[in-house]
């Protein structure tokens, strides 16, 4: 099977501080990579590099056949990113936000209605995002991330604010059942390992074994 992600000795710094170093991993198409590690381990930085939001400072990175950073422009149409920020405007309603992103991606409005139903937000779709609970915003953010039916999903704690019902609702969109290649950052080690094909432990930006020492 083709590799959707190939990282070879990937490195990234913030000024003098090393955020990622020596990260080497290959993720097959349709597989899920769990990225685990404590706070500040470099997990979010890795996702942002894979999304093309940050330039790698060393090593080689290929995502969906695009070499980073040179081919970054090829990624937005094929990658869905669900990070800590929902990337939704508070003053706009859920429907307005999704239509805005849909138009930027050239996706028809019908897809927005379909996704609002899929995440159980039809009734509150007209409410301003600032008036919604965190869990509801996260449902909308998940819908935003998959609006354009991306091949690769980059997920940073995607179920952090979701109740069990909402988590189940999102499963066909962002879960293993979606059939997409996924990179999943989570602090729920057991849960993440259960739904992944391979794992990458990070400690201080460097690869580390996934064991009890990872969070120390």
């Amino acid at each position: 099977m083709d590799a959707a992600i190939e990282l070879d000795n990937l490195a990234r710094r913030y000024g003098e501080r090393v955020a990622l170093a020596g990260v080497t991993v290959s993720v097959a198409s349709g597989a899920t990579l769990a990225v685990l590690g404590g706070n500040g381990a470099g997990k979010t930085t890795l996702l942002r590099v894979l999304a093309g939001l940050l330039r790698p400072h060393g090593g080689a990175a290929r995502v969906l056949g695009a070499s980073l950073p040179g081919d970054r422009w090829r990624l937005p149409a094929r990658v869905g990113y669900l990070g800590h920020e929902p990337l939704l405007y508070r003053e706009l309603s859920g429907r307005e936000n999704l239509r805005y992103h849909a138009r930027l991606h050239g996706v028809p409005d019908a897809r927005v209605d379909e996704l609002l139903a899929a995440v159980g937000m039809e009734e509150r779709a007209g409410d301003a995002v600032r008036d919604l609970s965190k869990g509801m915003v996260q449902r909308l953010a998940a819908a935003r991330a998959v609006l354009h039916d991306p091949e690769l999903l980059l997920l940073d704690e995607p179920r952090a604010s979701l109740d069990p019902v909402a988590a189940e609702l999102l499963e066909p969109l962002i879960g293993r059942a979606s059939g997409r290649t996924r990179v999943l950052v989570s602090h729920d080690v057991e849960g993440a390992l259960a739904e992944s094909d391979l794992s990458l432990g990070l400690r201080g930006g460097r690869p580390a074994p996934v064991d009890a020492e990872l969070y120390r």
Binding site: L53, P76, L87, Y89, E91, L104, H105, G106
Partner: protein, 224 residues
């Protein structure tokens, strides 16, 4: 590109209509400055160079507020990532932001210029309105092009409130000179020699240069 620019512009206008964070602040600032000049200069009416200078310095300082707020929704709500994660040409983003700023400035002037005429201007504006509209439109275009560029440059910096005026105002000196010089004959008590065509040409040249320059460099401004 046009579809994306229209989509971003529509979103910016909708957010401004709902939050009322930029235009009302710019209008209030302009009127406050005119009132300050009214009392500070201790004069009921101004004309000629002084009137022209007061009008344009105030409008350009009000523009600083609009430029500082131009990427506020993106900065405060993570929207810059949303734009970078969409398959959108950065030129579309520049066009949308510059168009939003142009419309904000025009809305401000619809209130601020009559207020200026009422509070400070000696001669009536009646006969000079078409020329004044032309100067305002060209001035706004220059401010919008440079403003969108500076706003993008400062968007992800911590000290954007400082960076915006420090970068914007020096870049707008040619706009100030051309607009003030073009407007000065319109505010004279008595008719005199005019050089409106020359200053409008200079403004047009400035606008063309900065629109092209902004489009050329905008791609690089939102890089990490």
């Amino acid at each position: 590109m046009t579809r994306a620019a229209r989509t971003i512009l529509r979103k910016d206008l909708l957010i401004e209509v709902r939050t009322k964070e930029s235009v009302p602040a710019m209008v209030l600032f302009s009127i406050t400055v005119y009132v300050l000049f009214h009392f500070g200069l201790d004069r009921d009416s101004l004309d000629g160079e002084l009137a022209s200078g007061v009008l344009w310095v105030t409008l350009l300082l009000a523009a600083v507020i609009g430029v500082s707020r131009l990427f506020a929704a993106e900065r405060e709500q993570g929207g810059i990532d949303g734009l970078l994660l969409a398959p959108v040409d950065r030129t579309a983003l520049f066009v949308a932001k510059a168009a939003a700023l142009f419309l904000f400035l025009t809305a401000v002037e619809l209130v601020a210029v009559p207020a200026f005429a009422l509070l400070l201007l000696g001669p009536g504006l009646g006969g000079a309105l078409p020329e004044l509209f032309a100067v305002l439109a060209l001035g706004n275009l220059g401010v919008a092009a440079v403003g969108a560029l500076v706003a993008a440059l400062a968007a992800e910096t911590r000290a954007h409130e400082l960076i915006v005026p420090l970068l914007l105002l020096p870049l707008l000196v040619p706009v100030l000179i051309a607009c003030a010089q073009a407007t000065e004959p319109l505010f004279r008590q008595e008719a005199g020699p005019e050089d409106l065509g020359r200053w409008l040409s200079l403004l047009t040249l400035y606008d063309v240069v900065f629109v092209l320059l902004s489009i050329a460099v905008f791609d690089f401004l939102l890089e990490d």
